[in-house]
């Protein structure tokens, strides 16, 4: 077989990486190359350099080091039994691609993942060599490394000292599904690996006895991904798993990835359109858990089946079932109550709290400061508005449901 060109490898190894939902480049420690001694900067907030026709942003060069893999995870295009074409980048090729793309301002940095070859330690060490190589050449862009759960702690330590973010994908919300669909993976080991990353980060964040920092370990923290729709887990299972991981391992983000058809599917998994709307609702629910002080039970107990309402967003769904807590007086209610009003995000609530010091607010004021008045109307009173019977209307839910299923294609 003729030697593959870098273009052919890039096509294969970025195609293989497109199922990873994360492309974020935020949260890294601030640095720049203004003095001319290196390349790149990270500002702390991410930059999306392009958007693909699937609506997702492209911030990083997201590639696999190789798509050869010894594992046989049913949901994965790179599984051992797949007929997909295989390729492998050399260390220098990845460094070259990252730098050259970066110099042209195509990307914020590198998101490197890999199939597992030879052994977890071998694979991890190759990945670490790439990142260490980049840093040794003065590269200051963002790096996200997908770590191999079974790799030795000192390799993870080297990875964390070069990378802005580390991640380990749990992929499935229930241990039983992992056992069934990813026979070589062990949910317990994955959790332990996330735990070790948390402890390593805490150890590095603590100044030593001389008061000096030993280095910055994964300043943007760690994240994980869960595939939605590959097994029969409910939204309660998915969010419950996410919630536990946020609590135990201090994850910065959990990404939900609708299981989408792959070109060479396994017999075990059906080929269906990806449940994009479900994925969207999970992100909304995740947000409510993290920033709006909602409890898991409040979000997913709607019909006892543990599923989110696909027709309306989870906050609206909660509000409709808890009409007794409304209407909320925009001019008096405390922050935590305002945060529960559909159509009000955290920013709007902060603006309301500031603005109402200057005088009583009306609906038009709220619209002007960016609130979604249409959603909030039935749930609030203002100086010029009272929902009266609106809140008790049996058909209130129907006002918010779009007549047709959202067009996804």
């Amino acid at each position: 077989m003729a030697k593959m060109t870098i273009q052919e490898k890039l096509a294969i190894l970025s195609d293989a990486a497109k199922y990873d939902a994360s492309c974020a480049s935020s949260g890294g420690s601030k640095r720049d190359s203004r003095k001319g001694d290196g390349l790149g900067s990270t500002t702390g907030s991410g930059i999306c350099h392009a958007y693909a026709p699937d609506g997702r942003c492209i911030s990083l060069l997201k590639i696999l080091m190789t798509n050869f893999c010894e594992f046989d995870c049913a949901y994965c295009i790179n599984r051992r039994s797949s007929n997909v074409r295989r390729a492998r980048f050399t260390v220098d090729e990845v460094i070259w691609l990252t730098e050259e793309f970066y110099r042209r301002n195509y990307i914020e940095g590198l998101f490197l993942s890999s199939g597992i070859i030879r052994s977890p330690d071998y694979t991890m060490e190759e990945m670490v060599r790439i990142v260490e190589g980049l840093r040794a050449r003065g590269f200051r862009g963002y790096v996200h490394l997908k770590t191999i759960p079974d790799a030795s702690p000192d390799l993870i330590e080297r990875a964390g000292l070069c990378a802005d973010r580390l991640s380990i994908n749990i992929e499935l919300p229930r241990d039983a599904s992992i056992k069934a669909l990813a026979p070589e993976k062990d949910a317990g080991e994955i959790r332990k690996a996330m735990g070790r990353v948390r402890l390593q980060k805490e150890d590095f964040d603590e100044p030593s006895h001389t008061g000096r920092r030993r280095g910055k370990f994964a300043p943007a923290g760690q994240s994980t991904q869960m595939i939605v729709g590959a097994d029969d887990a409910t939204d309660a299972d998915v969010l419950g798993s996410a919630n536990r991981m946020y609590g135990a391992y201090g994850l910065k983000r959990v990404y939900y990835s609708a299981f989408s058809p792959i070109p060479d599917a396994s017999e075990v998994l059906p080929l269906k359109d990806p449940p994009l709307l479900r994925e969207h609702r999970l992100y909304q629910a995740d947000w409510l858990l993290r920033y709006y002080d909602f409890g898991l039970d409040e979000i997913v107990n709607r019909d006892g089946k543990g599923m989110l309402d696909l027709d309306i967003d989870p906050k609206l769904s909660w509000a409709l079932q808890n009409r007794g807590t409304f209407p909320v007086d925009v001019n008096r209610a405390p922050r935590e109550t305002l945060l529960r009003v559909p159509g009000f995000g955290t920013k709007i609530v902060d603006r309301i709290l500031k603005a109402r010091r200057a005088g009583a607010l009306g609906l038009e004021d709220i619209r002007r400061m960016g609130g979604r008045v249409k959603a909030a109307r039935p749930f609030v009173t203002t100086k010029d508005h009272h929902p009266a019977g609106l809140l008790d209307e049996a058909a209130l839910r129907a006002r918010f449901v779009k007549p047709e299923q959202m067009e996804l294609f």
């Binding site: 392009a50 699937d54 301002n105 332990k192």
Partner: protein, 493 residues
């Protein structure tokens, strides 16, 4: 009427100076017509401006807001900024009131400018320019870009690129301004630019990446256009691939669905490495970086405990936290259950309470290599509040379910003395945990007749709010631990 005309480069500084003078002269915002020199001749009724005399006070947030208002294309931003400057002298808290129409409008413009800045950071595409003839080896590489921002944001944007592309020379041309970064020096010059006709060999590679990272099963072109409007496409090399990617998406998905699923390939799975045989000199302690010596049966027990499902606690915990220490230890310390840090680390007594215990044991003259530490319950029990895991006292059923493991440990280690730290441990060892503070300091017996010294759990000390009380209680705890040595010596005698 005032009609200040500001320069195209250095606009912000010029606006600041002019606004200061105008405000000092109490110029009515309605009578100021803001514009640029490049807009044409100044208006007829311009008057000389006084030197700034009145001192003006503005909040910090205003300075930030001005940076994003002045670059606004039509001049409305500069006018609004001046109107707000004047009003701020009377109403210092004005900017916090987003219900105010002028503040709301200013924030709306600022948001648009920030978006324009962000898109310029994102969508500038550099192309490499060949080195000039006779350039030195290792000279800085040269790049050029063309961009068409909606607003006059070149100056605000330049430092971002200078901080990012510090080791190369580059130029960014817009229709009105040329930003030049050469040898580390940044300068901007006004010019009239036209879109150059240029390519870079890397553009093909980049377009390959762009097409491959796109998932056709998730086609959502509207979402793409919302973030990357068409007006930017003509300057983005990868955008040329968009029509074909969209057109081909449905067919690609259909082909995936029509293709028969692949059965597992008859390729032998690489043999998993056999787990290494345990070294007879290895034990829990050695594995955990502690002292050598011990028995393998404890290691086997620990291994077996990993799959324990005797009570529901295993479901939410990360892992079982088994006891550790030498198999021939003369003392066994029993605590309550692992906490947050123990659950993550997989080792007992490594959290705050564990650290306090180790310190106090050392102070009481106990050598870590002489004792075995474990917990009455081996899984972490907690409730989650937001992102925090709050420790929960184990239920009697959980203590009795886990007692099976504790009895195994007692049998293997066969200690001369047990130390029950806290009510749960006391309950697990003696069958009753009631009245711990009264029983503290006493030597009782386990159900199988071993002596048990009763003391408190170190986390009790950490929870005491009063510093003096905490100190006194800690001293008592240390005294309890010191008794361990006496008791051992008595037994030896």
């Amino acid at each position: 009427m005032h009609a200040p005309r500001l320069p195209r480069i250095g606009t912000l500084a010029a606006w600041r100076d002019t606004a200061r003078r105008l405000a000092a002269a109490h110029a009515d915002p309605a009578n100021v017509d803001w514009g640029l020199e490049t807009d044409g001749a100044p208006a007829l009724f311009d008057e000389d401006l006084p030197a700034p005399s009145r001192s003006l006070r503005v909040p910090k947030a205003f300075a930030e807001l001005v940076r994003t208002l002045v670059p606004e294309r039509t001049g409305e931003g500069m006018a609004l900024a001046y109107a707000l400057l004047v009003r701020l002298q009377e109403t210092p808290g004005l900017l916090g009131n987003r219900a105010d129409p002028q503040v709301a409008r200013a924030e709306a413009i600022a948001k648009e400018i920030r978006r324009d800045l962000h898109k310029m950071h994102a969508f500038v595409r550099f192309r490499e320019v060949p080195a000039p003839e006779g350039a030195a080896e290792g000279a800085r590489r040269r790049f050029a870009a063309w961009f068409e921002p909606d607003h006059r944001i070149e100056e605000e944007c330049a430092p971002f690129f200078a901080a990012r592309f510090g080791d190369m020379d580059w130029r960014i041309a817009t229709p009105e301004v040329l930003t030049i970064f050469e040898g580390g020096e940044l300068r901007l010059v006004p010019h009239v630019g036209l879109r150059p006709d240029a390519e870079d060999p890397l553009e093909q590679l980049w377009t390959t990446y762009y097409g491959s990272i796109f998932n056709p099963a998730r086609l959502k072109p509207d979402a793409m256009r919302a973030e990357m409007p068409r007006k930017y496409w003509r300057n983005l090399p990868e955008a040329r691939a968009i029509p074909d990617l969209i057109a081909g998406a449905r067919a690609r998905v259909a082909a995936m669905k029509d293709a028969a699923p692949t059965p597992a390939r008859p390729r032998p799975r690489p043999a998993k490495e056999a787990p290494p045989m345990p070294d007879p000199h290895d034990d829990l302690f050695a594995a955990a970086g502690g002292a050598p010596g011990g028995s393998r049966s404890l290691a086997e027990l620990a291994e077996a405990a990993h799959d324990c499902t005797r009570c529901p606690l295993h479901a939410d915990a990360t892992q079982v936290v088994f006891g550790e220490g030498p198999a021939e230890a003369r003392v066994m310390f029993v605590g309550e259950q692992p906490g947050d840090r123990e659950d993550i680390a997989g080792r007992p007594f490594v959290g705050p309470a564990g650290k306090l215990f180790t310190e106090q044991a050392e102070a009481a003259g106990l050598d870590r290599s002489d004792y075995y530490v474990t917990n009455a319950v081996k899984h972490f029990k907690f409730v989650q509040r937001g992102k925090r895991r709050i420790h929960q006292k184990p239920a009697a059923s959980e203590v009795s379910a886990c007692n099976w493991w504790l009895r195994q440990e007692l049998a293997q280690v066969d200690p001369q003395l047990c130390v029950a730290m806290g009510a749960t441990a006391l309950h697990a060892l003696t069958g009753s945990g009631a009245g711990i503070l009264k029983r503290r300091g006493a030597v009782e017996q386990t159900k199988d007749g071993r002596p048990v010294l009763v003391t408190v759990h170190p986390s009790y000390l950490l929870r005491l709010p009063d510093a003096d009380l905490r100190e006194a209680e800690t001293a008592k705890f240390r005294a309890d631990l010191a008794r361990v040595r006496e008791l051992l010596e008595e037994r030896a005698a």
